[in-house]
Symmetry: D2
Subunit: 358 residues, 4 copies
């Protein structure tokens, strides 16, 4: 189950402490001009060691494209790529060889597979998400040609909530601060909180908001292909996620139907739109032409820089010393991953939609 | 996209105002004794007209199994079934022929397909979920043989929140009241609220909580087959859902890592479990043997019994009169649907897991 | 594994001795006008009891469409349908309850599933192919709107080989005789042979040829989606098939490359075609605009009207008396099934091709 | 469509003239000891430049495994791998930039994708099959632990037919001669024929036979997952294939049912087997415990070392000079590819079968 998508698909591979991670992008439409610098730029947004609020681990995360491009354009053939692993400190994990770290996948992987690559969490490591960013970068370049853009940002860190509608903000500001929050003041508060939490050897959770603009009416499928279902699946496949909501989400539960109906209106040219967007751009599982808006909850990272009690595989009680290089809060680096997964889902749904009429 | 699942799959069909709805359950393991009364019982829990808090529409929702059973047991062959539609008042929808009802799928379906069955919402009608309940009832009977149970209940209606841990309640109590809340006092409050909202021609949202018990360690797959991702996809494919969370969900965002680690302990027989369950029974996408707990947000239904302004397909402003028979709150009838989808996902994941080792 | 197709999919269900067979057609493009009489006509071509060369079993095989149509056109929603079983003589099979009939699926089904519906072969019965014919009839009506036609015919029965190129024959003649051979003289010989074989309580094999015309250039996918591979899979999923070949097939093995190259030429309007069609209309797995031609081998039916030695489930030697109503040669009734499967594959490939370019 | 398989899947990528080819093996059961020398050995059997009957192109085809192994065993995580391309003479293809070579994929790829990587045929090149051999080598090592073996050999080259049953031959002899025919005398004749054809600048077709032994009873699925269908799809996805048959295949068409029934008998221990194997080890789509036998037809290669008339993309008539390094007959190098694809299909079917009973 390392493949996502139906027509535009991505298949990933690789552990954090193996030779390389990589993947295959299949179903990419032919003839798309690809700017490889943009692909690398997306990886750079996700890579470790960017700032004091992320892990101090250094990896250049340089992608090598192996196939599927000819003279700068996609050929319709699958795009294979790899990212070599660097700067692995596998010894950092020797003391964890037989430990089941709390709220990690050590126990469940061992139970499932009977054995486990203990170095860096193997396939459960968030390092794997770098390959999704590559696939997403290809998808985004296709979507851009149709005027579809995907923009995510940090909207909450711990109890600090950015309580502003995205419509009133310049979302590109998010890239100018290390936490990726489009409000500079809130960004500074969030950064300070993360540093405080880090100094205490602890971690903290957060929320990423995402806005997809420019999706035409009619994308998505009824029933099991609902756009909300496909986005939920994609987002909840990202490490450390615990929740997904779109449009009014859980907040809408408290409201009356009369308060949340998105009234249709017709423009001078007859184009139909809605006055409000409680629906988050999706009605009956299908895009209605408004912005698609959703939110993803990330838990506090389970790797602490403090002593933690647990058991080993024989059931003996042990204490794990905090060690290694880890993120005190995943949210800043998760922003490009959320964007990548959204781009993958939307491109796939757009391509599928071409078959909806004769 | 009317199929869900990988090994155990369900494919549904049918509109509310056609001849019948139905589906095909494929990949059902052979040799499972099926109690058809239990299947019908699940349908009865979902059917309209059960109480004053649901729609007054009357349909018997009798399932006819057409294949896949022999002498009371599954044969490994696909199980086809139909539920005849009854008591359709198609004329109720004549005035909606060209209207785009707000927050409904009328507009998006028309845009996608170029035409639309306006009677009862066609495929976007929640009537379709009856077929999922049949598939879920088969899945549940397989799961029960392994001691796996699925139990959902109403935990919130509008602002009324059941703020008790499920561990301290008898969840079977939920079936004794029309809102399906396991706390009798809260149930009475919720019922009163729904009746008040209904009397005002309005609707209200709510939340369904679900607990899956008895899932062995090791079920679910890394990366795109994470159990959380598969449950999210399945739940967000249900009509009127706006959010999904598991374990601590969105609430966990505000907490520190040190507060939410699920510490492992070993029992006298060496069996490893966790002291707490912030993870909601899933770690690294794979079950850890604890209860799997998740929550699903349902919006207030978009069909009001009051006048609503909108446009028709030519962009003319029109007013829709509230008419027909609809639920003021979907949550009570959504409970068995959530259970059905959970059973489908868990059975599929259990069967897939058999291939994880040589 | 009762589903075929990727975008246009068909999921079937039903045993010969259950209540009904049926299926779900999903991914049918919206807006296609459907002539239901044509659908029934295809079923009539396949149904038992048509002539002396087929089984004497009588079933009307009347299809009931349950969903997905509105005012005579497809809506984009799944098309559910059933065909009630009639005229079942389940008692005909009582003596076979514990027998493993030679070259039948009794033994393999029992081993796989641990139990078996012995009445009529359960899911291994060719009765299941009736549901494919319904799906194919829908696919054909979509293809016809693009000028794509599918025509199959009997080209061999036992040693009697129709050694004429289809180009020189009127293929519609095939429908005027019970064996479905477009050459009236050969048809008469084949019919006589089948009747002779039948009178001896024996059965005989044959070959069906198929020609798909009007497929535009560019349909099909490289590598695992090759049109030849998809047709092979579809044809070899039909009961009693033992071989598939396209274009020059096995005969081409003996030839030199220089003898079989399909030379390209350009017409006055610049349209490129080939002088010959050894490739069978497929090059690199993708249609080249020429007729797609393939052949399917059917074995002699395993049910004989004579005594047959075998064992029962306990390994005891037993003798099975020939009884019941069976086809002495499946080929005449297989012709519409081959056409149906070809239509399903080609429509699916045409719809997928829409995603090949931005 | 660069993925094959349902649970055990392979996704490939790469063109002959890009940086590398490679792929991802997913769903490999955990805990299988892998001998990487055996993997490389399979690649060596397929690589160019082995003998005078194959292309003179030299590539070492060294596989680099990037993930999914830990301490010599599979971990259940996806296995990513690459094979660097070497010794590319891209200039050999400059004269073909705008040419549509007869019976090649140049024309169909250009029509489908609007552009084409003309160097070496891009994705339509048989070089891609090297990646399948890697996936097959992993599958084989899993199958071997269950005692399942896959053995293919050359049974026909042009008109030279090896007319012996495999039961009377030592199939391992096939590896001792360059054409991979288990009969030394016939091998010598075949070799001489290929060399003669090559000296004339021509090419010739052939047939590969394959035997899979040790498959337990009950593998494969009814209807669309029939083992014959899945093998057909896999084999017909190999470059240059034109036909597939299993068991008695096309030859069985001429026979009577009474001649080809595979009579069941019970051994002293009650184990049931068949006296003959006209069924080719598959009954009702499911393995019956006998050897699975099938045959694959390969056309003569379309690249000749002689002048060939065709058109360019503007429809101008041109003559292509024979140039480059190509195989006069693909069959010897196709043998390991057939084995690899068979291993992939059988392992996938074995893993799927685990879900067939509760």
């Amino acid at each position: 189950m390392n493949t996502i998508g139906k027509i535009f698909t991505f298949t990933g591979f690789g552990e954090s402490h193996g030779a390389a991670i990589g993947g295959v992008i299949d179903g990419m439409p032919a003839g798309v001009e690809i700017d490889l610098e943009k692909v690398q730029h997306e990886l750079d947004r996700r890579k470790p060691g960017q700032s004091a609020v992320t892990t101090a681990r250094k990896e250049s995360d340089t992608v090598e494209i192996l196939s599927g491009l000819f003279e700068g354009r996609t050929t319709g053939s699958p795009i294979g790529f790899i990212i070599r692993n660097e700067n692995q400190h596998s010894n950092d994990y020797d003391h964890l060889k037989d430990a089941f770290r709390p709220s990690h996948a050590d126990f469940t992987y061992t139970a499932k597979y009977g054995l486990r690559d203990h170095r860096g969490g193997g396939r459960s490591s968030a390092r794997e998400t770098a390959t999704r960013v590559v696939a997403g970068a290809f998808a985004r370049q296709a979507l851009e040609q149709w005027g579809i853009t995907v923009r995510a940002y940090t909207s909450q860190v711990g109890p600090l909530v950015l309580d502003k509608d995205y419509g009133g903000m310049d979302l590109s500001v998010a890239e100018s601060n290390p936490v990726r929050c489009p409000d500079p003041e809130m960004a500074a508060e969030m950064e300070a909180l993360i540093l405080k939490v880090k100094s205490e050897g602890d971690t903290i959770g957060g929320v990423v908001d995402c806005v997809v603009s420019g999706v035409p009416v009619g994308i998505g499928d009824p029933v099991f292909g609902r756009l909300g279902a496909r986005l939920a699946e994609a987002m909840m496949s990202i490490n450390a996620t615990k929740g997904f909501e779109y449009g009014m989400g859980f907040r809408g539960v408290e409201l009356r139907g009369s308060e949340v109906l998105d009234r249709f209106v017709a423009g001078p040219d007859g184009e139909i739109s809605t006055l409000t967007n409680h629906s988050g751009g999706i009605q009956g599982g299908i895009s209605n032409g408004q912005d698609i808006t959703f939110r993803v909850a990330f838990k506090p990272v389970a790797t602490l820089m403090q002593d933690v009690c647990t058991v080993d595989r024989d059931g003996n009680e042990i204490v794990i010393k905090g060690r290694g290089r880890h993120d005190p809060c995943v949210v800043p680096r998760a922003v490009p991953v959320v964007e990548a997964m959204a781009a993958i889902v939307i491109l796939d749904a757009c391509l599928m939609n071409r078959a909806s009429r004769l």
